[in-house]
């Protein structure tokens, strides 16, 4: 299934946040890593799409005073989601390998 570049970033962020992935935390992580500040609407829109596609699953969690007593919606990456990330990365690495003189620097990780 197709995945857009912003969706991919959101997916990666949700995956790397583990059990702590909900709207605000994903937004903060994206802001920290990419330097761009996605609007909360765009983010939720992407989260819903990813859930529809089956890459994410959600469950409802605790409320705090800061949230005016509203519950959080936590997201978790599914196995399909992980598969999608794998596929995207595979494609990228395959292409990048063919660029002469480009050192991907994968050993660093």
């Amino acid at each position: 299934m197709k995945i857009g570049s912003f969706e991919e970033l959101v997916l990666l962020a949700v995956g790397s946040l583990g059990d702590e992935a909900y709207g605000v935390s994903v937004k903060e992580l994206l802001k920290e890593k990419t330097g761009k500040n996605p609007s909360i609407g765009a983010l939720h829109s992407a989260l819903y799409r990813l859930e529809d596609k089956g890459f994410l699953e959600s469950y409802e969690g605790g409320a705090t005073t800061e949230r005016g007593g509203r519950r959080k919606k936590y997201y978790q990456i599914t196995s399909e989601g992980k598969e999608a990330i794998k596929e995207v990365n595979k494609l990228r690495i395959e292409f990048s390998k063919n660029i002469k003189g480009l050192n991907l620097g994968l050993d660093e990780f």
């Binding site: 909900y22 709207g23 605000v24 937004k27 609007s39 909360i40 609407g41 765009a42 939720h44 829109s45 819903y48 799409r49 409802e60 409320a63 705090t64 005073t65 800061e66 949230r67 005016g68 509203r70 519950r71 959080k72 919606k73």
Partner: protein, 887 residues
Amino acid sequence: MNSKKTTEPPKWADRILKAFCNEQVIETLQGDLYELYNFRRKLGSKLSADVGFVFDMLSVIRPFALKKFFISKNSSSMSMYKNYLKVSWRNLLRHRMYSTIKIGGLSIGIAVCILISLFVIDELGHDKDFPNVDQLYRLVNVWDQPGQVEKWESCQPMIADMMKSEFPEIENAGRLIPYSGWSFAGSNQVRRAGRLQNAYEEGFAYMDQELFEMLGFTMIYGNRSTALSEPNSMVISEAKAEKYFPGENPVGKMIILDEQEDRPWTIGGVMENPASNNHIEFDFLLTLTSEEFWKGEQTSFCCSNYATYFKVDKEADIHALEKKLAELYVSSYVPYLQERGDVEADDVGKYWAFLLQPIQDIYLRSERIHDSFQHSDIKKVWMFGSIAIFILLLACINFINLSTAKSANRAKEVGLRKVVGSFKSDLIKQFLTESTFISLVAVILGVLLAWIFVPFFNTISGKVLIMPFGTWWFFPSCLLLALIVGLIAGVYPSFYLSAFRPIEVLKGKLSLGTKTSRLRGGMVVFQFTCSVILIVGSMVVYRQMSFILNKDVGFSKEQVVLIEGANTLEKRLELFQDRLLKDPHVLNVTASSYLPITGSKRDLNTFWKEGKKKVDKGIGAQIWRVDDDYINTLGMELIAGRDFDKTSNRDSASLIINETFARELGLDSPIGARIVNWQSWTVIGVVKDFHFESMRGEIGGLGLASGRFGSVVPVKIKTEDMKATLASITAVWDEFMPNQPIRYSFMDEVFKNMYEDVLRTRNVFFVFAVLAIIVACLGLFALSSFMVEQRIKEISIRKVLGASASLIFTLLTSDFLKLIGISLILAIPASYFLMESWLEDFEYRTNLDWMIFCGAGCVIVVIALLTISFESLKAAFINPSVGLRSE
């Protein structure tokens, strides 16, 4: 933690959020938004958190979050809107001529509106870009005597420092000398030290380091806080730096002005090129640090030559400060006057006031303040703005008139829609959609038109406008314009059309639009009233213009070449003049910096009759240093006494005065009278009054004193061979000044330039008048041809029964001519009052006579008649069988 305090985002935004979002998402979304809100609230102000909340709220209005209700309802009404657009499109295509007129008229109106808006935005944007612009003020002197109020900007040299040290509200103060001809201010010959070739440059002014910092010019090289702090330092603009020091950092390098090698100027910095929308627009700023133009000048109250600017504390009460400034000023100025025995000392205490004029107001709101800057006028901006709106209204009226007139054609559709279940509200929606659609098309065309005509508009308005396609606000405001115009133009027709009763309409009872309804007539009257006013306006402006240009100004401006920048000749000036006189093409030569043209050098002095200095009030008059051939060369008329004596030196203290000055001095026999300013003079002649400033103001007092120096050499030449004359003058100049290219202009052209703003107003008026007439005629044409279409059967029957072509023509045109007549009756008094008030600004003005109104009336009647008769004549000569065939 106080939970109440932490969750207070704007309620209205929260309500919108709830209204839009479905239940599945609202809980999490609201939670996230609140969390973000509180996060921002901790970081910054409530305002920024509120704004952030509103943006977040807007960002979540997306399909995933919307209630089902919006999505489902949207999709069904969407298809209705599609149908409305389809029907509108078909209607546009079916009546091509009417559609073209509707859309064409509207797009002309919109194009005018866009151009004028750009003009207005540009005018209003002057002097807004300085840092802390709200705190910057210019000090304006006010002489507030009942019946004799005067305002001017120039202050004595020490006022800036005096006020700054006395009042803590004044954070900073700085001075400026923008007056052309004041030492190096204005224009000079410029060369880089070490080079020979001079170039002529304009845009010099003196400025304090403090003012330079206050105005916050962006620096390319050098430091803003020290650029002008050294004596003899100067700041130049980027363009001039590139000209004289290409590819180098000019800081620390030297420049020679007017060949004065003993006084080189050091470049202290390079600033960005001055913006054309600043009133302070100079390329060369010379420092005032330790500058003293004569001994004791800086500490003397004698002379006011400094424009003074303040940076005032944000909290300061400006009115109170103005009062305090005046008190302090009076308390130090009056003793100075008393010491000198000046009779004005008491009046100064009574009538002196200060005005702190915000720097942003200088360009548009300096009416009746004497200064040396170019100004526009807020009234002119309003006038142009209202003209634009009127033309747009005219175009909207075309739309309304045509839509209601052609309602019969849409009546069946309305009937049918109602029969199959359409509500009135749906029909209103339909027609509003239609008009908005049409206005959107018109806006797109209008933007294109405006874009095409920007260069033309720039030439007539003297602006450098560009279409702001790149700005974020342009397209949204165009969209808004389309909506507004769509609503204005569509609201009446949509209510009118949607009110048809289906039974009557479908029965065919409805025969609307055969006669001009009262409303439609009223609108035509309105259109033509506007057109007539604009025609009269442009005719009056045109007349006033030619009146000024052709009025006897009291000197001869034809065949006079002005050689400029001749001050560098110094002692060889006389030799140069003699050489020119030997030229057979040349009739007369003189020299002076003072010319009867606005913008040349001026020197206002106060005079008294001798021995009355301590008794009488002083009389203000210009004193001009001119050479002995001045009156001869410029063709002024000496009405009493004699001219300067060329052969001797006896006229060093002689004065030739003009009639006004003689009258103001109250001299019965002026010849031989003795008057004083800082020296005493003997009046030897009286010259007939001539206009030495724009004709807006009265002729002031003037005295001519003999003195052979000046920067301009006016040369009176013979008419025959202009080319050869100029060539031989140039040759003589090059012989004297090989390193300075000659600069000359023609006096009649310079004179014309004085009235450039009037010329521009004339052109703009003319263009608007033409546009208004075009729009009005488009409407009239469409309306008349529609009437003919509706009455074609009536006409055919009349013809069959023997009516002549002329009778039918009269029948068809008389209705419209009546309307035109009414608009003439309305327009003539209105335009009379408008133009009277415009002419009041001029001291010397043309008259409004009946010829103008007659002319305008004839023009409009002829144009209207031509417009109507195109279709009416076709109808008058129609073959009746064609009109009756279908029955």
